[in-house]
């Protein structure tokens, strides 16, 4: 098991794992989330090809659209 941080919380994952797989583990639709890995924003098109590494600090930023209606 390898340790990473997701939204400031420690998590153990089995590598190799892609970012898309990690997102889906949380029952999140990849289209609904913007992702920073170690502080750098990743384009959504790259989620499938991005491997998570030991020690990565990953932030899920969720689209939140409400407000007016």
């Amino acid at each position: 098991m390898s340790r990473i941080k997701v939204n400031d919380e420690l998590r153990e994952v089995t590598l190799p794992i892609t970012l898309t797989e990690l997102i889906q583990q949380d029952n999140i639709v990849p289209d609904m989330v913007s992702v920073q890995i170690n502080g750098t924003l990743l384009e959504r098109a790259k989620y499938d090809d991005t491997a998570v590494s030991e020690g990565d600090e990953i932030d899920f930023l969720f689209f939140m659209g409400g407000g007016s209606l």
């Binding site: 289209d31 409400g66 407000g67 007016s68």
Partner: protein, 269 residues
């Protein structure tokens, strides 16, 4: 220095008492011009607090009329206002709260065609809209025109906000492009706890007043999000992204377009 009347000194006394505001800061608020886009869940508390604070000029743009289902959270609108344009309903309340405020209303949608004209005369813009195409449009218009703005979004029990000043991370630095249509539900689809609108809107109002007075540090290069079920607040650091489509090194967004708006049908009642 402008001369506040004794009534104004009394009205704004709790601001004037603040070391970071004082008479000078209150004068800046009085001279401030703020455009609030959307007079709904977020716009309601933003407008009410800005009005109470004595912001001299407030612009409101919203193309909707008040609906019964709005009243659970859009506290600037009352039961008797159902059917009335939201901008009109909001203006009446603002004038009742504080006659010092000069209100300009636009009963219209915020579009690529009118964006620059609308924001030009204002010092600070508040995003209180609920569709992604418009949120991205507000970001692009403000970045391209060099205008500061506050982004706000709410959904279910969650809220998120960030402040952008020219040169700092923009909304596209965190969310490059709108999500595919219908990937993310809106409040009208998924619901929202009414008080969440107040929590998030008052943060946006506070950021606006901080900007106008220069008090404290604006919430730039940070995305604040909270979940009211746990009442956990979280701040994620943002960086200006070299690959940002609008403020990066090789921007693809150099003018405003309506295309993204037409491609999205999130706005379903």
């Amino acid at each position: 220095m402008m001369d506040f009347t004794p009534d104004q000194i009394e009205r704004y006394s709790r601001h004037i008492l603040l070391q970071d505001v004082g008479v000078e800061g209150q004068e800046k608020i009085h001279n401030g011009k703020v455009l609030v886009i959307g007079a709904g869940g977020l716009g309601a508390p933003v407008l009410m607090y800005l009005a109470a604070a004595g912001v001299g000029s407030i612009g409101i743009i919203d193309g909707d009329v008040v609906d019964l289902s709005n009243l659970q959270r859009q506290i600037i609108h009352f039961t008797a206002d159902v059917g009335k344009p939201k901008v009109l309903s909001a203006k009446e309340k603002i004038q009742a709260i504080n006659p010092d405020v000069n209100v300009t209303t636009f009963h219209d949608l915020f579009t690529a065609a009118n964006a620059f004209d609308l924001i030009r005369d204002y010092d600070f813009i508040v995003d209180g809209t609920d569709t992604f195409p418009v949120k991205f449009l507000i970001n692009d218009a403000c970045v391209l025109a060099g205008k500061p703005f506050s982004h706000g979004g709410i959904l279910r029990f969650d809220g998120q906000t960030m402040t952008h000043l020219p040169g700092t991370a923009c909304y596209r630095c965190a969310f490059h492009s709108p999500p595919p249509p219908n990937a993310v539900p809106t409040c009208s689809q998924a619901g929202v706890l009414g008080a969440i609108a107040g929590m998030l809107g008052t943060i946006q109002a506070a950021e606006t007043l901080k900007f106008l007075t220069g008090a404290g540090e604006p919430m730039v290069n940070r995305l604040l999000s909270f979940n009211a079920k746990t009442m956990n607040f979280r701040t994620v650091k943002l960086h200006r992204d070299d690959n940002c489509p609008v403020c990066g090194k090789h921007p693809s967004v150099t003018e405003l377009s309506e295309s993204e708006q037409a491609a999205c049908d999130l706005k379903k009642h």
